[in-house]
């Protein structure tokens, strides 16, 4: 833990954050736990507690599913680190050609919903898929395996690590490594002993996110893993929620197993960061000085290009090719291509346009709310001392591990109680609350890492000069963590705009979001229209962060 701050008395910031966490996260979570204990809580009855919990927990399939979940989570974490960490260090410490371009392109995987990316990969590599149609190559069905699931998921989430690590390393700069060099360390030793350890908060926080994302994600393992008999906890949970007879309590129990896994990862992360200081942002200005790559420029650019091609090029190609094909069976022949599906969206057939507006508004609201709560919570956790902050910190990790569908069940149970005088249930507000709950971990983890890097002396100096804690937070700390926070808010915006699993269950009657619209098209066999909607969404959600970046004049969008 970094040196505790001077603030012992929790101010209004802290109370506000705590209240928001309780409403948004603790209450739905409480009802998931209640559902796990009381099978008939949905009917408002507390009858036969713990009845059958053992049956769920001793199900022989559970061990297999839990093991597969761990394999998947760790596999995605390792693969993401292998791809992202070298790229991030290169990007942060050297003059990588076209650096800005790579940053923008590597943002795009956030904007591609995982289920769409998976479908894109299937349509690309299956026999007679786009790969075959374009190049004549046949990749067979390697995709439908554990390796395929890890491969596709890694390509979707590794940018989380890339942006977190490259920003952290950039903030450390070459300065600390230079000190090491002055004292006789080789460049490699300086990297290993100085820069790498100092970048740990960003690396550990982002890998924790990746692990939680990987064990929670439903679409990819369902589409690619099932055929290979690779069942994970999330697919097991979904079966219990949507298969007759509906078993909400079984789903709740399995979700708590997932939460335990995520908390385990969280504890490991805390241990890694414990008793060390990562303060690198002191009062001294630092020049951002990057080294030239020399002859290594070509292989480095090639590495960025290959990764970008796989993570962005392939899914985007499949999405646009399908969106532009009049029929799926017509293939990529010129007379089968046209803008019919896009025209249908512009003409607002089936309420496509309204779904876009709904999701974009929800995405913006979620980003703002989670950003504010995230900043306040991280400040509280890193900078203040009061009892219960550890609990509140842990609360901010859990939603990330709970499958969206179970969060949705918890929210219905909590907010559809008959004795509530007013309730957000069945209004758009309930989706906003669900998105905030699910996505709060992002700003919290990003801001948390940023706060750990800001030296105490800055805040102390402000206090010496008469600033109140609130002013010190607003004028000193907040601007310093703003870049990280803004980055996470853009991420939240992108993910909230396309959230599917909770929306499917929770959308108020009569309301569509982008993802429920797309899902409906797929479900009814209109893949082209669904892909056209995805394409429009990806364009919009990529443009907005770019505009924010240009307007704020900061380096890089993340």
């Amino acid at each position: 833990m970094s040196t505790p701050g001077t603030t012992r008395n929790p101010g209004p910031v802290v109370w506000g954050a705590a209240a928001a966490l309780i409403v948004l996260v603790a209450i739905p979570l409480l009802f998931i736990v209640l559902q796990a204990i009381f099978p008939a809580i949905g009917q408002g009855s507390l009858a036969s507690p713990f009845d059958g919990v053992l049956d769920v927990l001793t199900d022989p399939k559970l061990v297999g599913m839990a093991g597969n979940t761990l394999v998947l989570g760790l596999g995605v974490v390792v693969c993401s680190a292998v791809i992202a960490v070298p790229l991030a260090f290169l990007r942060a410490l050297f003059q990588v050609p076209l650096a800005r371009l790579w940053d923008v392109l590597l943002l795009i995987p956030f904007m591609i919903p995982p289920y769409i990316a998976t479908l894109g990969w299937i349509m690309t590599v299956q026999p007679n898929g786009y790969l075959k149609q374009v190049t004549g190559l046949d990749a067979g069905s390697y995709l439908f395996s554990i390796g395929g699931v890890i491969f596709v998921m890694t390509l979707g989430v590794f940018p989380v690590v890339y942006f977190a690590v490259s920003r952290t390393v950039e903030a450390i700069g070459g300065r600390y490594a230079d000190v090491g060099r002055v004292f006789g360390a080789s460049p490699f030793t300086a990297l290993r002993r100085v820069t790498l350890p100092l970048s740990l908060p960003g690396l550990a926080a982002s890998l924790l996110l990746v692990f939680a994302m990987a064990i929670e994600e439903y679409g990819t393992p369902a589409a690619l893993g099932r055929q290979a008999g690779f069942e994970v906890l999330v697919t097991g949970i979904d079966t219990r929620v949507s298969d007759w007879p509906i078993d909400l309590r079984g789903a709740a129990v399995l979700s708590l197993v997932l939460v335990m896994m995520s908390l385990g990862a969280f504890m490991i992360q805390l241990r890694i960061l414990a008793n060390r200081s990562f303060e690198t942002v002191g009062g001294k200005p630092q020049a951002v000085r990057k080294r030239p790559l020399g002859i290594f420029a070509i292989p480095v650019v090639a590495a960025f290009a290959i990764v970008t091609l796989l993570a962005v090029g392939v899914p985007l190609f499949a999405i646009f090719a399908t969106a532009l094909s009049k029929t799926l069976s017509g293939g990529l022949s010129p007379d089968n291509l046209g803008f019919d599906h896009f025209r249908a969206i512009v003409a607002d057939e089936n309420g496509a346009f309204r779904a876009l507006v709904n999701s974009l508004s929800l995405g913006i609201a979620t980003a703002v709310i989670t950003g504010v709560i995230g900043a306040a919570t991280s400040y509280m956790v890193v900078r203040t001392r009061f009892r219960g902050k550890g609990f509140l910190d842990a609360l901010t990790v859990m939603p990330n591990a709970i499958p969206g569908v179970v969060v949705a069940v918890g929210i219905i149970l909590a907010w559809n109680q008959p004795w509530l005088p007013v309730t957000p249930y069945n209004t758009p507000l309930i989706l906003l609350m669900a998105y905030c709950c699910i996505l709060l971990p992002y700003p919290v983890r990003y801001a948390n890492a940023a706060f750990r890097q800001v030296g105490d002396n800055l805040e102390a100096a402000a206090r010496v000069f008469g600033a109140s804690p609130l002013v010190a937070f607003r004028r000193i700390l907040f601007p310093l963590v703003l870049p990280s926070l803004l980055a996470s808010m853009l991420l939240v915006f992108a993910v909230a705009t396309r959230e599917l699993v909770a929306s499917l269950l929770l959308a108020p009657v009569g309301m569509s979001t982008i993802s429920t619209f797309i899902w409906r098209q797929f479900d009814q066999g209109s893949v082209g229209l669904g892909m056209a909607m995805s394409a429009v969404t990806i364009l919009i959600t990529t443009t907005i962060p770019l505009l924010v970046t240009l307007a704020s004049g900061r380096r890089g969008p993340m």
Partner: protein, 319 residues
């Protein structure tokens, strides 16, 4: 659609003067989304009553009702599986109602508490551009021409697919057909859409037991796809409409059921390529009397559901 809107506008003009304040009806419905939205619009135009729709898979709709049970919100439920009607009747959740418009609905498509909106049938969905001979029978898909070229919807995820598996394997548990399919490289590909997709793109040649209306709609849009109903017989999936007994808007709910079974409502059902529940409504597709139906004893079959699914997945997981 345009024609329908014009009709709607005409009716709105007619009732606008008389429309008074009505309670809204909340309807939870399995797909297709276009159908339930069309029914909601048509009903509002006719009666002035607003219909609030939540649409999802049968599973998601039931999960929502289950989670809402402390404070139920839904007035009318449309499921894609008749089993929902049996289950809800047993729980005592349904309001008995027989619509006057249900006179020409055959007996096996109605009960005291439920009536079919429409019916889908299962068939072989085949891509004529796949270079395979046109299959006529279920067993044709076990032939070498279809090696590695067949998908099946997962019976655990589709009620109709489960009933087909039950009907074809029989009460005696004759799994030979499915063992042959598995040996021929057929794969279980998730829900209906996931099974159809690779057939449309040409990665596979045929779906064994696909819900038909999606493919009829696809064919209309120009997809290279044909629906074949084997002469040996198939199963149908009636889609029950039910009124929940906790509904506070029972009069409006009954009116909505009447509307679904009206000439206008049934025409919308036919336009979605489902078989209209009423036998006197024309449809541009094979209807019940054109199909040979396989008998299943649903009480017994559903009692054995877990074991059958287990057996089924065992056959397709060993390769």
């Amino acid at each position: 659609m345009i024609k329908h809107l014009r009709l709607a506008a005409f009716v709105i003009a007619g009732v606008a003067a008389t429309s008074a304040a009505h309670a809204d009806v909340t309807v939870y419905s399995a797909g297709p989304a276009g159908l339930i939205n069309g029914l909601a619009e048509g009903f509002k135009a006719k009666t002035g009553v607003q219909v609030n729709v939540f649409q999802g898979t049968t599973g998601k709709v039931l999960a929502r009702i289950e989670a809402e049970a402390a404070n139920p919100q839904v007035d009318v439920l449309v499921s894609a599986s008749w089993d929902t009607a049996n289950d809800f009747t047993q729980r005592g959740w349904l309001l008995p109602y027989t619509s006057p418009n249900a006179a020409t609905v055959p007996d096996f498509l109605k009960s005291e508490t439920a009536v079919a909106q429409g019916v889908s049938a299962l068939g072989i969905v085949w891509n004529p551009k796949s270079g395979t001979p046109k299959p006529e029978e279920w067993a044709d898909l076990t032939k070498p021409e279809f090696k590695d070229l067949v998908t099946l919807p997962d019976p655990a995820q589709s009620g109709a697919a489960f009933e087909l598996v039950a009907a074809l394997s029989g009460t005696a548990g004759n799994w030979k057909l499915f063992e042959d399919l598995a040996a021929n490289g057929a794969i279980v590909a998730g829900a209906n859409a996931a099974a159809l997709n690779p057939v449309l793109q040409g990665a596979k040649a045929a779906v064994f037991g696909a819900v038909d209306y999606i493919s009829f709609a696809g064919k209309k849009k120009g997809e290279s796809v044909e629906v074949i109903f084997p002469a040996s017989g198939t199963v149908v999936a009636p889609r029950p409409v039910m009124i929940l007994n906790w509904s506070k808007n029972q009069d409006e709910a009954k009116q909505f059921v009447d509307y679904i079974l009206s000439d206008e409502g049934q025409a919308l059902v036919a336009k979605a390529f489902l078989i209209p529940a009423r036998t006197d409504i024309p449809a541009d597709r094979p209807v019940i009397k054109d199909l040979k139906l396989l008998e299943i004893d649903s009480t017994q079959v559903y009692a054995n559901r877990a074991q059958m699914l287990e057996e089924f997945s065992k056959i397709f997981s060993k390769k």
